[in-house]
């Protein structure tokens, strides 16, 4: 059991000594209280300049683009003329400099309350700017010198981007009291490949210079040194099978993705996202333009099956030329194949363009599938329009739960299903993909999602329909065996994850896959499912 639990970021366990960052109210603010109005105004201007140049230096030295962008956005707030104007107004109305800074920060913070999580998160940025301005006005520089030797784990209530920008190579891990999976700290640690456990709630038992072990995979912090085996990926020492247990495919949204998928030795493309090719188009591309764009991508794709998904857009995934307007609830609105109700000509043209390009690439087997199909009526309409054009491999996506109970009624022309696990989870659990407060329900290890996938596979088997997965779940190397054990025939992962998937397909035995699926289906929680399957797979090494 973990001594402290939070939200883990990264894959690697880390052991190190605690570098504690303690924060209190700036003790030197008293010296600023007795300044005259004029002196306060000058001090403020100097403090802003000093903090701004500190940020500029950090931006120059930042190791990573994401961090640079976050720091630049904060610098823009510090130098915002409206901030100094509001502080100066308070000074002129008789407040001392620290009071005036506090008042301005509170005023702007209050205006940010009630927005989405992204806006509320900026309140923490503003508070840190307030503290830094008061420190700078008293002449204090930010005195944060991280050690340059040894293995250290930074422990703090939270970390500002400015602080993370000063990390040295001796910083191996991070533990914070506050923050969640989308906090600055989590994002920066993910980019810098530093293991972290954030949002631990209580870190008062962690003292400076003591040794701790953190294991982000278990979301855990342990006192002292704890041996955690990290023997590399579970399949690394398994014998290589001659024939793969399943088809490892890649998701493609550009010619570059296609190249990467091909060089990873994927057996094909399980999802070609046509919408990504049109995001910048202001006018509807003609059939000839579409043929040209698809040909460019196809010429970089591996030989084998390439599944084109018809345009998957919506008011939450806007495509300029469709002019879809605004909906109260875009995830439940006219989205995916439903757009063919309002723009039938675009869909007819798109299928025609895909058919034309397929004749130019005889070594690839071109399939088409439609997103967001809710019932047999919609599936039949799509498969009729595709088979009329001569497509013999036609499928639909399974994202809307209602289609599952209609699988036995699907027309014979539907040859395959492709499960989009992200949207399927969103609709199954009534959990908005954009809302981090419900993110735990969208964990692909949720046993209910796995039971649903199992039911899809069983119903499809009775009809001789193949099932693949092209959602996020396919990219998790621990989950892949479970999905195959449930009866899935192909997995299609994002371009960066394909090479692991290919390796797994040559290491995983069907027996292990079935055992993994059995364990996961019997679990009561997503954490149990993941733990049991990890134990099973690592025991095989």
């Amino acid at each position: 059991m973990a001594d402290i639990s939070g939200y883990g970021v990264g894959d690697n366990p880390v052991i190190g000594k605690i570098f504690l960052i303690e924060r209190g109210i700036s003790d030197s603010r008293d010296v600023l209280v007795h300044l005259s109005k004029e002196e306060s105004v000058v001090k403020l201007a100097n403090a802003i300049n000093r903090v701004a140049s500190e940020f500029s230096d950090s931006i120059k030295n930042a190791r990573d683009t994401t961090l640079r962008e976050i720091l630049s956005a904060q610098l823009a707030l510090i130098t915002d003329p409206e901030l100094s104007a509001v502080i100066n107004d308070s000074i002129n109305s008789g407040k001392s400099l620290p009071e005036a800074i506090d008042a301005a920060i509170s005023e702007f913070s209050a205006l940010l309350v009630g927005g989405s999580a992204e806006f509320e998160a900026r309140i923490a940025d503003l508070k840190e700017i307030g503290v830094r301005l008061i420190d700078a006005a008293t002449g204090k520089t930010q005195n944060l010198n991280f050690p340059t030797e040894g293995d250290w784990i930074v422990v703090s209530n939270d970390l500002s981007p400015l602080e993370t920008s000063k990390f040295t190579s001796a910083i191996k891990g991070v533990v914070t009291r506050d923050g969640g999976p989308t906090s600055h700290t989590a994002i920066v640690c993910r980019q810098l490949r530093i293991s972290a456990v954030v949002g631990c709630g209580d870190i008062s038992k962690l003292n400076a210079n003591e040794t701790i072990t953190i294991n982000p995979v278990e979301n855990a912090v342990f006192f002292g040194r704890k041996a955690i085996e990290n023997r590399g990926p579970w399949w690394i020492n398994l014998p290589k099978l001659k024939n793969p247990t399943f088809r490892a495919l890649g998701n493609v949204g550009s010619a570059k993705d296609a190249e990467l998928v091909k060089s990873s030795n994927a057996l094909g493309v399980g999802l070609l996202r046509t919408e990504l090719l049109f995001l910048d188009s202001k006018v509807e591309p003609t059939i000839e333009e579409q043929v040209r764009i698809y040909a460019e991508v196809l010429s970089n794709c591996p030989e084998g099956e390439v599944i084109f998904r018809t345009l998957d857009a919506g008011t939450d995934k806007p495509i300029g030329f469709l002019n879809l307007g605004k909906e109260e609830n875009p995830a439940l609105g006219v989205r995916g194949q439903r757009i063919s109700w309002v723009r039938p000509q675009f869909y007819a043209n798109q299928l025609l363009a895909i058919k034309q390009v397929s004749t130019l690439f005889p070594s690839q087997r071109i399939s088409v599938m439609a997103p967001m199909i809710a019932n047999t009526e919609e599936a039949t309409a799509f498969s009729n329009s595709a088979t009329d054009l001569g497509f013999d491999s036609v499928g639909i996506m399974v994202e809307v739960p209602s289609i599952i109970e209609d699988i036995s009624n699907l027309p014979d022309s539907i040859k395959f299903l492709s499960i989009g696990t992200n949207d399927l989870s969103q609709y199954l659990f009534a959990a908005d993909r954009q809302n981090s407060a419900v993110a735990h329900l969208l964990n692909p290890w949720q046993p209910i999602l796995l039971k649903t996938i199992s039911r899809i596979c069983n119903l499809s088997k009775l009809r001789g329909i193949k099932v693949g997965i092209c959602g996020e779940a396919a990219s998790d190397p621990l989950l892949a065996p479970v999905l195959i054990g449930l009866g899935v025939e192909s997995l299609s992962a994002g371009a960066g994850a394909v090479s692991d998937l290919v390796a797994i397909s040559h290491a995983l035995s069907l027996t292990t896959a079935e055992a993994a699926a059995d364990l996961a289906l019997k679990s009561k929680t997503s954490i149990d499912a993941q733990r049991l399957v990890r134990n099973l797979l690592t025991a095989k090494i």
Binding site: E69, A73, A76, D80, L83, D125, P318
Partner: protein, 83 residues
């Protein structure tokens, strides 16, 4: 009116870019949901306090008689909130 398409709305990074473009105009540029509630577009802080979400439309007013310059500024502002 222009629609905000950036994934998280007019949030930290897009707001900073938006303000920089507005500041470069050389005349006041104001932004808001309606004519009666406009803020200084050159202020990233004021932009954040609008809490504009993705998919919302915002009104941008250039206080100048130079139509050509206003059009360029509006085009640039629109481009910066596309993604």
């Amino acid at each position: 009116m222009m629609e905000v398409k950036a994934a998280v709305g007019l949030h930290a990074r897009p707001a900073a870019q938006f303000a920089e473009i507005a500041r470069g105009a050389g005349y006041p540029v104001k932004v808001g949901r309606s004519e009666i509630a406009l803020v200084n577009a050159a202020s990233p802080l004021r932009l954040l306090t609008l809490k504009v979400q993705k998919g919302e439309s915002i009104l941008v007013v250039c206080e100048t008689s130079d139509e050509l310059s206003a059009k360029t500024i509006l085009d640039n502002l629109e481009a910066c909130i596309q993604n």
